[in-house]
């Protein structure tokens, strides 16, 4: 079991006060806090090793390259990917755009279906919409039920056409917490079309749930460093090397080339072909330290801790009059991003009052407007938990909800 009090000591920011109260940080689905070891790893990198990677013959450049490539190996192991298929991007969003521009734009045409879902983050919607007009593929979405689950009948119906060439789905919703049955969905998609490619949005699942590309049967997995205890400025596209090799480059520049003449250019091997320009070196070092921290605790322990929090949190919220929790209520079927509504109150007002109580929650559409609209509103209030949150903090959340209701006299 995870010793949450010990864990908390590793996170300097959690000592902060907000409006004269101890901070209760319930916004980890937006971005996580960072343990000291991650900050130290980056500072140490800058203080002792900093140099540009690759091509350098001097000692610092060699050490920096070694640190960067070893970070790649660490991240690859964490999600069971081939290191040659691990491309460092600036965030999860860039990873989806890389796939949209380099895969979808060149592989899809009229008659092909790109199947996404109504549960997706904008990062897994807008890139496909951007390239769709150029290629004319059919962009379809699996609807979400009011209960926050994918509508599997609709999914089956679209898959049965045999025209789904790319299926993309989040492993865990950032709004309603739903854990999707990715492996089964992937199997169905492949059964209907052997050449279909399966993309998984791991932005929420990689931080919170042991996520194994092989287990999920994913061809591509996209996630962000900053949501998994790592720094901003880095994301990951993990993919099957053979698919990446066959894809044209996306961004052009240094590092990604093999030879440049004024007439034309040949490209480097993967993953370098997709890493144009100076990469996020210190950020990769920080992300590797974050992975080491998570691995040290064990992803099973992290998940068990969150399930325990959910077992307390969901009944506690539902016990408050006027509160409705969105999405699955069974902790086994969901992650720790918990959206809820309070009758008669708008999320913006809730967020503001809670902030005064020291409780940081998020109010809005959480970059998933189609999903939120399905819930029948334009915004939700979301409390999202991580390994450093405690059961006491659930009580603080409930108290803050009561305080909000009192304030507005509802």
């Amino acid at each position: 079991m995870l010793d949450v009090e010990r864990v908390r000591k590793d996170f300097p920011l959690l000592e902060r006060q907000v409006h004269g109260r101890r901070l209760v940080y319930l916004d980890s689905a937006a971005t996580s806090q960072k343990p000291q070891s991650v900050l130290d790893a980056m500072t140490r990198y800058y203080e002792t090793t900093n140099a540009n990677v690759h091509r350098g013959v001097h000692a610092l450049a060699e050490e920096a390259t070694e640190a960067y490539e070893s970070a790649r190996n660490t991240v690859a192991r964490f999600v069971c990917a081939d290191p040659r298929g691990v491309v460092f991007t600036k965030n999860a969003t860039e990873a989806f755009n890389l796939l949209a521009y380099s895969w979808a734009r060149t592989r899809l045409g009229e008659g092909d279906i790109l199947l996404s879902t109504q549960m997706e983050h904008h990062a897994n919607l807008v890139p496909w919409q951007l390239v769709q007009p150029e290629t004319g593929f059919d962009l379809r979405y699996v609807p979400m039920t009011a209960g926050g689950l994918l509508d599997l009948d609709e999914f089956d119906a679209v898959v049965a056409t045999g025209r789904v060439k790319l299926f993309t789905v989040t492993a865990m919703s950032n709004v309603v917490g739903t854990i999707n049955p990715v492996r089964e969905l992937a199997a169905k998609v492949r059964a209907a079309n052997r050449d279909a490619v399966v993309v998984v949005d791991g932005a929420q699942s990689v931080p919170h749930l042991g996520t194994d590309m092989v287990d999920l049967d994913a061809d591509f997995l996209c996630f962000s460093g900053h949501k998994m205890l790592g720094p901003t400025g880095i994301g990951v596209l993990a993919g099957r090397p053979d698919l990446l090799e066959a894809m044209p480059p996306f961004l052009g520049g240094g590092e990604m080339i093999s030879n440049v003449t004024l007439e034309g250019t040949t490209y480097n091997e993967i993953p370098y072909k997709f890493e144009a320009g100076t990469p996020p070196i210190a950020e990769a070092v920080g992300l590797a330290a974050a992975v080491d921290y998570l691995s040290g605790l064990g992803m099973d322990a992290v998940r068990a801790h969150e399930v325990e929090l959910l077992q307390t949190c969901i009944p506690a919220l539902e016990a408050v009059e006027g509160v409705t929790v969105h999405g699955p209520t069974d902790p086994a079927r969901r992650g720790a991003a918990v959206s809820f509504a309070i009758e008669g109150l708008h999320p913006h007002d809730i967020g503001t009052i809670m902030d005064r109580e020291g409780v940081a929650v998020r109010a809005g559409h959480h970059c998933a407007k189609p999903l939120v609209r399905t819930l029948g509103s334009a915004a939700t209030t979301r409390a999202s938990f991580y390994l450093y949150n405690t059961t006491d903090e659930i009580q603080a959340l409930v108290d803050a909800i009561e305080a909000t209701k009192n304030f507005f006299k509802v």
């Binding site: 999320p347 009052i353 005064r356 334009a378 507005f408």
Partner: protein, 153 residues
């Protein structure tokens, strides 16, 4: 700054007992729909023009207390005013929300209560929603149109 700066009693009162809130206004000369997708605020504003003045005005919408209360206070402040004067008042409100002093304090009526919102940058857009819809409705009318939709970033 304290919560009471933001949620003054007058504001909560407009929120709980909205003035001129209605899903229709019959007849009306112009109807605008404004939304603030970031916060999920949606607002419909309908205006009837009489002899160059705001003859009647009604709003409806879905949004936070600040946005709905501000729209409510706005309708009281502009009713009966010359169109150009109403537009000028909206500008005074906008400047106040950007911390550039309070002009036409008496004319703003309960609108003055929103002064404290200026200290909460993320809520300024909420307070402005109704007034910006008004400005847009006046502009739309002046161009001879009857309908307009605006989405803020």
């Amino acid at each position: 700054m304290s919560l009471d700066d933001l949620y003054q009693e007058i504001i909560l009162d407009h929120y709980r007992s909205p003035r001129n809130r209605s899903g229709d206004l019959d007849p009306h000369d112009v109807h605008v729909h404004h939304s603030n997708p970031l916060c999920g605020d949606e607002l419909d504003l309908r205006l009837r023009v009489q002899d160059g003045t705001v003859g009647a005005v009604a709003y409806d919408g879905d949004g936070c207390s600040i946005s709905m209360a501000s729209a409510s206070a706005m309708t009281e402040a502009v009713a009966g005013r010359k169109l150009s004067d109403a537009d000028d008042l909206a500008e005074a409100f906008r400047l106040m929300m950007h911390g550039e002093g309070v002009k036409r304090e008496d004319d703003l009526l309960d609108g003055v209560a929103f002064q404290g919102v200026a200290k909460f940058p993320v809520r300024v857009k909420c307070a402005l929603l109704g007034w910006m819809a008004l400005k847009d409705a006046l502009q739309t009318y002046s161009e001879g149109e009857a309908e307009h939709r605006v989405t803020y970033d």
